[in-house]
Each structure stands twice: as C-alpha cells, then as structure tokens.
Amino acid sequence: MSNFFEKSDVSRKEAESIISDTLQKCDDGELYLENSKSESILLDDNKIKNSSYNSDLGFGFRAISDEVVAYSHSNEISKNSLKQSSENLKSTLKSVKGTYNHEIPKSNKKYYDNINPIEQKSLNEKIKILNDVNDYLRSKGDKVKQVTANFLGEQKSVEIIRSGGETLSDVRPLVRFNVSVMVEKDGRKETGVYGVGGRQSYDSYLKDENWKSVCDEALRIASVNLESKPAPAGEMKVVLGPGWPAILIHEAVGHGLEGDFNRKKTSAFHNLMGQKVASEGVTIIDDGTIDNRRGSLTIDDEGTPTEKTVLIENGILKNFMQDRLNARLMKTRSTGSGRRENYRHIVLPRMRNTMMLSGKQTQEEMIKAVDKGIFAVSFGGGQVDITSGKFVFNCTEAYEIVNGKIGSPIKGATLIGDGPSILKEVSMVGNDMMMDPGIGTCGKAGQGVPVGVAQPSILIDKMTVGGTKL
C-alpha cells in the first residue's frame, strides 16, 4: 500500500485536520488519494512500437453541501496544495449548514489480490509473447497483412480519508491483452479484434499458450468479414449471441438506471420504478463482487463496499445504481456504484459488471424462430442518448438469418433501438449466460472506467439494422 504522506511536508494528522475543518457542516465529502503505475507494450507492423510506463500521483478533495459539489485536485500532495484546495472548496460553499454523514458500511471481503501485475512478468517475457503472436498469426497465410498486439497493465492504490479521520483503502490490479489482425483478399481488407483481461496477473490469462486462442479468435472474425456482404437496412428480428453482446444491456438500460440521471429526471426511466420495463423472464443485475473481473471492486471510489444490485427482476424495474450523493438526495442508500476514472475526476454513479441472467431457451430455438433477421455475435462500441432513450451499437461479426437458418456473414452495421422499450421486445432468453472476456471500458462525462458485461443468447423481435441494402 502507498504511504501518501511519507515524502510530503504534510503529516497524516495535519491532513486529517484540514479535511475535518473543511468538511464541517458539509453533508459529505472526502480526500481521495491515488497512486497508479501503468505500462503499455505494443507490437505493431512487425516491431515493438512502444514500451511506456506511467506513474501518476495526486489527490482530489471534495466537499458536498445539499446538491452542490465542490472539487479540487492536484498532483502535489503538500500542505500548501491541500490548503489551497480547501480554500477553493470553502469559497464555493459559502454558507453551509449541513450535518456530515459519518455512516459508511464495512466489509472484509476482497475480490482480487494485492499484486502488482507489471512486476510479475519481465519486459523480455512480454516482448517474447508479442513477437510469438506476430509470428504465429503471420504463419497463418499470406492473407494476414497486419498484426497489432499489446499488453496493458496497471496497479492503482487508493485511499479515502473522511472527516474525522476514517480511512478506507484498496489496491487494484488490472491487465489486458489485445490482438488485432488485418487480412486482405482480392483487394478487400477486413479487421478482427479480440482480447482478454481482468484483475489478476497476465499469466492467469495467458498460461498454456492461451494467447494462441486469442489470436485464433481475432483471425476468425477477420476472415469471416472477408466473405461478408452488405447488411440489410430496416426493422427486423435480431438474435444476439451470449457474452460481449451484452453491451446492448449496458447501453440500452444500464446508463438509464444510473442514479444521477434519475435524480435529475433526465433519464427515460426516471418515472418507471416498480413498473414493467422488460419481458417476463428478463432479470438484470449489476455486480461488483465477482472475483477478479474487470468491473469488480472491493470498495468503490467513495469507500462503500460494492454489492450485487438487482436492477430489473423478472421484467420489473427494482433499483437504480447509486453513489452517496444521489442516494442521499433520493433518500436511499449507496449501492457501492460511486466511481471515477482517477483523482482528476468527480465521483459519478457507474456500472460495474452488468449482467442479464440465463433463461430456459436454446440459441438454436431462437434462430429457428426467425424468418428474416440477423444473428449478431460480436460487437465494437455502443452509445446511448439517456434522455430520448435511443441507443446504438456496432456489429463486428454478424450473419443474416433466412427461414430459420444462419446464412452469409454481413458487413459491420449499426443497430439502433429504444432503451425503455427494447427489453419488452425480448421474446426468448437463452440458457447459456456467458461473461465477456474482460475488455470493456465505459465512457461517461469524459471519464473511462473498466466494466464487465454478461448475457445469454437473446431473441429481440424488432430492432432497426443500419445496413445499406434496401
């Protein structure tokens, strides 16, 4: 664990007293300290293009009075800098008359080990694997024209000091291994991307030459796309495969169920609590407690232990995801969903691992039930307009379905739908729930945080496919 005051001219005791002084009569707030170390090693175009290391240190000081948040951050952990931040917060919150809420739940559970993944594997070993990846993929035939592979590793130590000196801390490892391959045939180029990762050592994901299966998957996607034909345009039935396609859930309903948008009544879901928002059989949870997953957290960035939050149960909207600020203002409790990208940013209610649970049907039954539609297996990114509820995501591997049978692969296309109504169009829920491989990053208000998703295969009765073939 980092000792944030070791090399500073301010002692822990002095910092605590600045914090307590600043936050008296505020409703909430804390000093958040962060020390992160990260590395990136990239192979591209047959060469190690980049080996870089980043060390980041800083604090964010937050004071909240009623609905108003004052925030100040700096890289310098010094008496001067803390005092300047304190003055800055006080000048925003001129006449505070709240009562500081000292209550914060406790838990001894941990969902990952205190390791530094960067140090657990030498640079030379990492370079060797990247070169092996390059050789392996390029040995698969002339059609392979470009290979990019990279390691991203991080260890982030955080400490939260609350008014009165209560301290909460966490050390978070995170790794990701990614492969992208471009193939060419008859002048046509297509790309395939695949990756793995989570909150363990690199070796947990790469042992037994598992990197080969990552390469195989990337190459398979690229090769399928070489044969793809233009995607259809218009409304039709869509079967989604299990796992990563759950970014549909993340975009379509996840963001709309975050506390801030609902407190402000700008989410299309804000007046739907307790109502039916999905077909029967659809249950969606947001879970920060799964061991070693990319979206898991022992405590959130306000110090609240994470939990498994039921969002939609059997079609009925049950809970929003909350941080402390929005929970207080909506008279409920934090669900341990308060997150930030780093000390430069304020806390927002965010998703962790968002999952639709398994139902009873098989994927085969779903395909059979479609006369004309598409089967979407893999996706790029997605986006949502919270207010209108409209969301999109981009297919990176999809097939047409004709008369209950899977047909030709189709070109990447955007799918668009309406968040509050799309889950009512779910007519079958598969028995094959799967987690994503550990590669997701969610963006909100300019902040990226690692997240996970999971779902079984599902059949959606009506969605608009943004192809070019009329």
Partner: protein, 438 residues
C-alpha cells in the same frame, strides 16, 4: 498561476541531462502544466465547482535505434531519478527499430510567432456565475424546458518541449468555454440538445443569452419525433456533424494508417477522392485559432497544407517515424491536424436545403460507425425531414449508412463556414446514402 517557462525548462533540462548521463544517445521531453476552473449550474442554481491543477511530464529516451518512454505527474527529482533510470533500462531491453529517431535537424521550428493564443484575463468564479445565471435564464424561458445544465470553464496551459538536439520551446495558451445542455419534454417525448462556445480570448465568447436561447430552441424543435421508412435519400449534415466527416478523412490520411496499410486512402495521393469543387486546408498559423500551433509535438515546423485541391488528395499527415518508413519528410503533423477545414462551397444554406424536393437534415449522430480500413460508415442519427426547403418534422431512431469512398465523391458544400472548433466544415449535402428506419 500556471507555471512559468523558466520552471518548465528547468525540469526539462534536468531530465535531458540525467538521461544523457545514464546512457541515452538521444532524448526528448515535454513538460506541461494546465490549470482549469469550472463552474456548473443546473436549473438556475450552482451545482458544482471544479478546480484542476495538472502538472506532468513525459520523456522518451533513445539508445541508438532503441526507444522507450515514461510519463509521470510526480515531478519531484527523487521520483524522476527512479523513473528515468527505469526508462533507460527498458530502452536497453526493447528491440531496435530502424525508423526510430528524433526529427531531422533542419525541420525544427526556428521562429515562434505570437499567434494570439493566450489571454491574460482571469475570470473569477462569481463572474462565471453571473454569465451562467444569464445563460440559464435564457435557456429555461420556455415551459417545455424541464432541465438545464450549463458550464463555464477557464483553462490556462503552458508547456515546454525540449530534446537533445537543442530544441527547446513552448508557449502559453488559454481557452474559455461555455456550454448549455437542455432537456425539453412534451406528452410524447423527452429530448436533449446543446449549444457551446469556446474561444482563446474571453471577450470573443458568445453572448450568454444567445447561447441559452440556441440550446433551448434546438432542443424544443426535436420534440415528438417520428421514425421514417428505409430508403435512399440525400443527407444534409449540420456543421457540427459535417466536421466529423473531415475528422475521419484526417484519420485516414495519417501517416501511421498509411504506413500500416490500414486506410482506405492508401496510395491515393494525386488521385481524385472528392468531387471537383472540394478543397481542404490545414492552417496552423491562424490567429486565435483553436487548433493553432507553432510546431508539432516533435518540434517540427508546421506550414499550411492544401490537403485536397479540386478534389485531388495532395498530402498525407506525416510525422517523423512514419515519414521515414514511407520515405517522406515530416510535414509537422505529429499529433494530428491543426485548423482543418473545407473551403466554402458556392451555394447558400437555403439553396442547399432547396436542392432536393426531399432530404434529411442530421443534427446528431451516435455510435462509432466509421471504419477507416474499409471506408464503411454506419451510425445512429437524429434530425429533421426537409421537404421543398422547409423543416417538416423531427426524426429519430434511424441509422444512416454508406461508404466514405462514395460519400466523398458526392459532397456539395454550402458557403457558411465558421471557425467554431479546430476542425470546421460548411453545411454539407451528400447524395446516395441509405437510411434505415421502419
């Protein structure tokens, strides 16, 4: 106060000399300080204040043709010693790459012109609050507006870029940004839209009333949208969306995409990729320009480039590494374009709307649907149906799709170019795209 040149230069030269002492044959460093102060309003009340003070450096060390880099926000010499040592160690262990090097000496920027990028004015939080009060009053005038969120940010930055070839320069920049996001509601729908203004100088910032009114009107007119059927139709991109087409073009002609062979515009220099009348410029020395710069992120001088002349592609955007690989000289575009824009077309906005009996006017797109390998484009969109030059009704939950290779050849531009962002386009009409709806 943002750190001065002297402080930043001292840190930079400390790093360069330490790197040299530890065995680097070459090195370059950038030290940057950026201070931002933001005030946010929501529904006419103070919602958030945010002050950020970011100081950081990043150093790249070379040993012959080996290269590695580190970055840190902890600038204490103790920490820098450890990190630079680690960087040198990593450099030694990283394989050689024949194209790794600092820029050629004769390409470094020699004179640094004053491009009017820094405004000394400091706007206090209570002045920001006055501006936001006025803005929010205007934005929430209409009863249909149910939520307003507005923001005012002042940013002051300073940086120094230095390398072992003796280049050492930097300058201050400032920006003042105001924005307003409004939500409107009627019985059938709830919609969101925004307006925004960002300038180097405070006195150039848009009037608060005007900004608030625009945000509100643009939101209200989106209420009760319809979904239309799937068809092939002419698309008109509002300026704020049209600039995205130019950004995709810039990505596709970056020397890294070209040298890796992952761009649909590879080998297209001196070929016609746009329709005849299209000219594209990248002009770094625009006074007060939001993308203006004296040199690129490697210190290479930047001249104005006419990237597209009468539809013909004339240049890629070249940095040192990829330039050496392509056997081309860097044209000072490491880090991308500066002030990139389409030159005005010769038809006015009204005539552009009138040019087809039926078209779609797009004001927002969502999704990441631009593929620069294949040129394929498919995104979610919101906008209006235009009939005989008139805005008929709002439209949403549709997608628009095409391929940039065809889209570029079918562009008509209006003559309403403004320099509101770093990348700018007049209103743009593209024929032959496919809309997917009902």
């Amino acid at each position: 106060m943002v750190k001065d040149q002297e402080f930043l230069e001292k840190k930079a030269s400390y790093c360069l000399s330490l790197a040299k002492k530890l065995g680097a044959t070459d090195s370059s460093v950038i030290v940057k300080n950026s201070i931002s102060e933001t005030v946010n309003f929501r529904n006419k009340k103070l919602d958030e204040s945010n002050r950020s003070d970011d100081l950081g450096l990043s150093i790249t060390t070379y040993i012959g043709k080996k290269k590695s880099s580190i970055s840190s926000s902890n600038l204490l010499n103790d920490n820098l010693n450890i990190l630079i040592e680690k960087c040198i160690e990593t450099t030694k262990n990283t394989p050689e790459d024949e194209f790794n090097s600092l820029p050629d000496r004769d390409l470094f920027a020699k004179e640094v012109k004053d491009l009017n990028l820094y405004d000394e004015t400091h706007i206090e939080n209570n002045q920001k609050i006055d501006y936001l009060k006025k803005l929010e009053a205007a934005a929430s005038n209409d009863k249909k507006i149910v939520n307003t969120e507005s923001s005012f940010t002042q940013n002051k930055s300073n940086f120094v870029l230095a390398n072992s070839e003796g280049f050492c320069d930097g300058y201050k920049t400032s920006s003042f940004t105001a924005s307003s996001v409004t939500v409107a509601k009627d019985e059938k729908s709830m919609e969101r839209d925004y307006e925004y203004s960002s300038k180097c100088f405070l006195k150039d910032l848009d009037d608060a009333d005007e900004l608030g009114n625009l945000a509100a009107n643009q939101t209200i007119r989106k209420l009760s949208p319809k979904k239309i059927g799937s068809e092939k139709i002419a698309i008109i991109f509002d300026k704020r969306i049209a600039k995205g087409v130019l950004s995709t073009f810039a990505n596709a002609i970056s020397s890294s995409a070209i040298s890796r062979g992952t761009s649909f515009l590879k080998d297209k220099v001196n070929q016609k990729i746009f329709s005849d009348k299209i000219n594209v410029f990248d002009k770094p020395d625009m006074l007060k320009g939001l993308g203006s710069r004296n040199f690129d992120s490697e210190g290479v001088k930047t001249d104005t480039l006419k990237l597209v002349d009468q539809g013909i592609l004339k240049h890629y955007l070249i940095d040192t590494y990829n330039g050496k690989k392509l056997n081309l000289k860097s044209n000072g575009r490491c880090g991308g374009t500066s002030n990139l824009y389409f030159e005005n077309g010769n038809i006015n906005f009204k005539d552009l709307l009138n040019s087809h009996s039926k078209s779609l006017y797009i004001t927002e797109t969502i999704g990441h649907g631009s593929n620069i390998v294949t040129g394929d484009y498919s995104v979610g969109a919101t906008g209006f149906l235009i009939e005989n030059g008139e805005f008929k009704y709002p439209i949403n939950e549709i997608t628009i799709a095409g391929n940039f290779k065809d889209m570029f050849q079918n562009i008509t531009l209006a003559n309403d170019l403004e320099f509101k962002y770093a990348t700018n386009s007049p209103t743009m009409l593209i024929e032959g795209m496919v809309v997917a709806g009902k």
